[in-house]
C-alpha cells in the first residue's frame, strides 16, 4: 500500500543518512537471524557488497559463530568486527535483528560499533524489534548497546 511504501522509503532514507555520517561506511543491512534482508541502504558502487553478504550467508554464519563465542565464558557475543581485506564488516546482534555494517578498509570501526548508542538509530531498531517475532532459545547476543 502507499502508506507502507512511504514507511519503507522513510526507513531507507533514514539508513542512508548514516552512510554520510559515519566515515567509511558504505552499506547498512538489516536482516533477521536467518539472513533474510529487511531493509538495506548502500552507496551505489557498494550494492554488490550487500548482495555478496546475503549470498554468502554471512549473517547466519555470524549467528552460529556468536553462539559458539558464548561458550568462552565472558557473556554472550554482541558484535563481530571482521576485516576481509577489501572491506570491514561489523555485525551487531539486536535480537531478533542483525545489523550488518559494511565499510571501507579504513572505516571508523568505533563509530560503527557504537551505532547502537545513537538514540535515533536505536529507536528505529526498537520499533522493528517490536514487530518481529522473538526467537526462543537463542544464545547469541542481546539487544543491549555494543560495548566499545
Amino acid at each position: 500500500s502507499p502508506i507502507e511504501n512511504r514507511a519503507m522509503d522513510s526507513l531507507r532514507r533514514f539508513l542512508e543518512s548514516y552512510l554520510s555520517q559515519v566515515d567509511g561506511l558504505s552499506a547498512i543491512l538489516l536482516s533477521d537471524r536467518d539472513g533474510v534482508g529487511l531493509m538495506s541502504a548502500a552507496q551505489p558502487e557498494c550494492q554488490w557488497a550487500v548482495e555478496a553478504v546475503v549470498k554468502r550467508g554471512l549473517v547466519p554464519g555470524f549467528c552460529q559463530a556468536a553462539e559458539q563465542a558464548g561458550k568462552l565464558g565472558v557473556g554472550p557475543a554482541s558484535a563481530f568486527v571482521t576485516n576481509y581485506g577489501q572491506m570491514t564488516i561489523v555485525l551487531l546482534s539486536c535480537q531478533p535483528l542483525v545489523v550488518t555494517l559494511i565499510g571501507q578498509p579504513d572505516c571508523n570501526i568505533g563509530a560503527m560499533t557504537g551505532l547502537l548508542k545513537d538514540r535515533a538509530f536505536s529507536e528505529q531498531l526498537r520499533r522493528l524489534q517490536q514487530v518481529l517475532p522473538q526467537e526462543s532459545g537463542d544464545a547469541a547476543g542481546g539487544s543491549g548497546p555494543v560495548r566499545v
Binding site: 554488490w48 577489501q86 572491506m87
Partner: protein
C-alpha cells in the same frame, strides 16, 4: 615464544595464544591450566573457520571452496585447512559482554588475544598488530610460507 606472547598480557589482556587453523594449540601465555587454553584455541579456530567460509571477497580456502562473489578467488582447492592462506578474512574481533577476543592470521597460523571488558578494542588490535609483526618472520621461516 611464550615469553614474547606474555609481553601483551598486561592491562586487561589476559592471555595470548598461537594456534593452527585447525585448532591445535601451538603456544600460549597467561593460562594456568592447559585445558583452558586448548578449549579457547578450539573455539577460536571454529569462529575463524565459520567467518572465513562466509568471506565475501574470496576465501573459502579453509575447507569447502565455494564460489566467491565480487573479488579474487582464493585459488587453491580444498584440503587441509592448515596449509592454505585465506584470501578473505584477515582478522576478526569478537565483542562479548564481559570480554573480547581478537583473532588474526599470521603466516599460516592464528594469533589470538583474549581480554576482559576493560580493554578498548583499539588497544587490543594495536597490541595484536605489534605482536604479529614480531612473529611474522620467525613463523614464516618455520612454516616456509
Amino acid at each position: 615464544v611464550a615469553q614474547l606472547l606474555s609481553q601483551t598480557n598486561t592491562d586487561g589482556v589476559q592471555s595470548s595464544l598461537l594456534l593452527s587453523l585447525d585448532g591445535a594449540l601451538l603456544a600460549c601465555s597467561g593460562y594456568t591450566a592447559d585445558t583452558d587454553a586448548r578449549v579457547l584455541a578450539a573455539i577460536a579456530a571454529n569462529l575463524w573457520d565459520t567467518m572465513e567460509r562466509c568471506s565475501v571477497n574470496g576465501g573459502g580456502g579453509g575447507g569447502n571452496s565455494s564460489s566467491s562473489v565480487g573479488g579474487p578467488s582464493s585459488g587453491v582447492g580444498a584440503g587441509a585447512a592448515s596449509s592454505q592462506a585465506p584470501a578473505g578474512l584477515q582478522d576478526m574481533t569478537v565483542v562479548c559482554t564481559n570480554g573480547s577476543l581478537y583473532i588474526a592470521y599470521v603466516s599460516s597460523i592464528l594469533l589470538c588475544l583474549y581480554a576482559n571488558a576493560t580493554v578498548p578494542l583499539g588497544m587490543l588490535r594495536l597490541k595484536a598488530a605489534k605482536l604479529a609483526d614480531s612473529l611474522r618472520d620467525p613463523i614464516s621461516q618455520i612454516t616456509g610460507k
